[in-house]
Point group: C2
Chain length 412, copies 2
DNA sequence: CGGCTTACTTCACGGCGTGATTTAACGGCT
DNA sequence: AGCCGTTAAATCACGCCGTGAAGTAAGCCG
């Protein structure tokens, strides 16, 4: 609250650059003319700003479209080729590192399985750094071209003080046994690239919002159904974090006080009724060990009409509908996106049941304005979403390149 | 998304004025010196801005505090006397209209009981206008001195397009049978004063945040327990509205799928377990008609050790704890404020039970950062909160007085 | 080839916040 | 009483911003 983000005239320019850059990134090639109408800037300012961005090499002209009897409008677009993004998905069994260009075309990727030391954060950090070096090396990418490394992790991420280069990032991952792991510090020692870390569910949510089923919505909830259950809340276009970045823990919403025991210790959590782990365990008839195979088997059994499987899935749909009704009542989103590997697997079968249940459980008014849809990006989207973290920073700053003088001149 | 709220240099000044005014309003008399440190503005700018505000009569000097051997600092404060605010609470049985000065001192107030036509919006609008005229008249307040009229209503409020002078405000009040009532239009015909309408729970929430138990928190939920149950979500210092202004419908969160039937038609809503109406009805042994007396009787019976009453309240505490755990998990607030007449009545007795239940139901990490407290303003706060609506607008605009030329010269 | 239309650039202007300098207003000391 | 050191506030030159009007570029059509 010290100045609410910029009082000087130069911040005005930063804001204009950011607005223009964002528009160009999301709404494709645009002429200066259209840019003016879309951003509310005057023609003069658009010329100034785009001129600056062109000079900085952040955008480029791409052809011109003629009209009947006037000077043709030159189209502008973000210079996709010049910059790279790295997205990292820290999963339960492996670390995935991918290199993208600005249009999120995957240039290289690598999967690094976790050893049995998987719960050791130092080990995970080493894998991330190894994967990072590998994708950069294979593509011959210079560090200066990389806007940053985004990492999606399981657990709650405290961002630390801003401006400290990610050093203060701490991860609390109950499910993987991480207790206040200083991931920022661990990674910072191995790379000079800008670091961004957030919860994996939140990165996936952002990916669905930017490029998937959530496109265009300003208020949405991306529900993640996997082994456990989570959610990413988008309020007014931005990920909602809450006081300590742990908002959106939907899985432990109480849908049945005094009901089934959940792995979190409490009773009646949504996760205990609709999480893949809970479903597979309750079904019992699945080969142990492989949860995905187990859930697929459960689904197949239900398709075959096996009553126990059908009952289990019908119940899951009802509880999911109730949980979604809660989200609708509390957050009043325009859209609910169901994602996560289990959600995408079960979605086609459960969706009618979910909608029916939600119709009954949610209040009429907000429900009428909410759309329940399935995610379109698949579970790989955690990586894409992670890569949006540095991208978001890049766009917000108006294309200000992070200061990385230490990359070039600090070899000693 | 046309310009994200101001690209020109004058918007900069508007922002500075707003920052300074806000600081002065909330953090009492302040010297220019302190103002500079607190707002991040340079000394020169502070001089400029405060000079402008002084000239406009929005702030005033109030004494000076000397130091050891230097020029004493002149203290500044908002000119409380010059402006008035009107708050209106549209309740289920009456309309309350109150006139405040800027320090929220009540200068006059009137209660207008609803006739049996209470569900007729036209009747309510007439009462509001009559009450408004009355308080203005009794205090001899000139219309120019009134920053605006804030109205808290039951139901969902659609704000309509901005800049239309409140004409587009529409209220959907299921419980009072209001279906898309054009309250803005109804009131606009009877007064030229700026109009602000919001849900009563949200106005009460804002009052608790600004002046009550929520002071200082940036992320909070004000839970309202009355006949029904609602909530006001504060995200990053602002009321969270969602896509269609209906966010925060906590009362119809599902805490027991397949459980008790709620008056909304669904089963297992929180409201069906902890709302005053439900509690009194379930207890049965209360005099019918007066819900407040009924709840008081239930409470007295529980204090006397009557098992049925004790059991009912213990169960309510458990469900409230579960509901609050949901809020903690989903919103990750710093504070949960329990308000509403029933909440304040039961609070002292239920709070230990609520906390115990919430401890068990919420996730450890977010719960450790959340404080559960009782509201401090009482139910009258709906009126105060309603009055904060024009105040908020006044502060946000940097003290720009609404254009009301039509008040003075448009008599024909 | 000249006129017309449309897209873009250039530029004078008013306005902003900063930071250095100046002025105001006090207490203490001689 | 007069001066000095100290702190608060006002003033001002400076660089920068977006606007809007005027000017220029770049195609069409006849």
């Amino acid at each position: 609250m010290t100045g609410r983000g910029g009082n000087t005239v130069r911040d005005l320019r930063r804001g204009s650059r950011a607005t223009v850059l964002r528009r160009l990134y999301f709404d494709g090639p645009l002429s200066r003319q259209e840019l003016g109408a879309l951003t509310g800037l005057s023609a003069g300012s658009v010329s100034n700003v785009t001129g600056e961005l062109l000079a900085d090499g952040l955008i480029e002209e791409c052809g011109s479209v003629g009209s009947d009897g006037g000077r043709p409008r030159t189209m502008l677009r973000v210079a996709a080729g010049r910059f790279r993004l790295v997205g990292v998905d820290v999963g339960e069994t492996q670390v995935r590192v991918a290199l993208f260009d600005l249009t999120r075309t995957e240039l290289a990727a690598g999967d690094l399985p976790l050893s049995d030391r998987g719960r050791d954060a130092g080990h995970v950090a080493e894998l991330i750094l190894a994967g990072l070096a590998d994708v950069l090396d294979r593509t011959g990418t210079a560090p200066e071209a990389v806007l940053g490394v985004g990492v999606g992790v399981p657990g709650i991420v405290e961002q630390g003080a801003p401006g400290t280069d990610g050093l203060g990032i701490v991860v609390h991952g109950q499910t993987v046994g991480w207790d206040a792991v200083p991931l920022g510090r661990l990674l910072r020692t191995g790379t000079g690239l800008p670091l961004f870390v957030d919860n994996g569910a939140k990165t996936l949510g952002q990916a669905e919002m930017w490029f998937g089923a959530g496109r265009g919505a300003r208020h949405a909830v991306v529900a993640l159904v996997g082994s456990g259950v989570g959610a990413c809340v988008i309020a007014d276009g931005a990920r909602y974090r809450g006081a300590t970045s742990s908002a959106g823990e939907w899985g432990h919403t109480k849908v049945h006080v005094g009901g089934r025991r959940c792995r979190c210790g409490a009773r009646g959590c949504l996760e205990a009724y609709v999480g893949a782990e809970a479903l597979v365990e309750r079904w019992g008839a699945a080969p142990p060990g492989d949860e995905k195979a187990g859930l697929a088997a459960l689904l197949a059994a239900a398709e075959a009409g096996e009553p126990a499987a059908v009952g289990l899935l019908d119940e899951a749909a009802e509880y999911l509908g109730a949980g979604i009704a809660d989200l609708v009542n509390l957050f009043n989103p325009e859209r609910i996106v169901i994602g996560g590997w289990a959600g995408l697997l079960l979605g086609p079968r459960l969706l009618p049941g979910i909608r029916a249940a939600a119709t009954g459980y949610a209040l009429r008014f907000p429900y009428e304005h909410a759309l329940i849809v399935l995610g379109t990006l698949g579970p790989e989207a955690v990586t894409t979403g992670a890569a949006t973290l540095p991208l978001s920073d890049f766009l917000d700053s108006g294309g200000q390149l992070p200061d990385r003088s230490h990359l070039s001149d600090a070899s000693a």
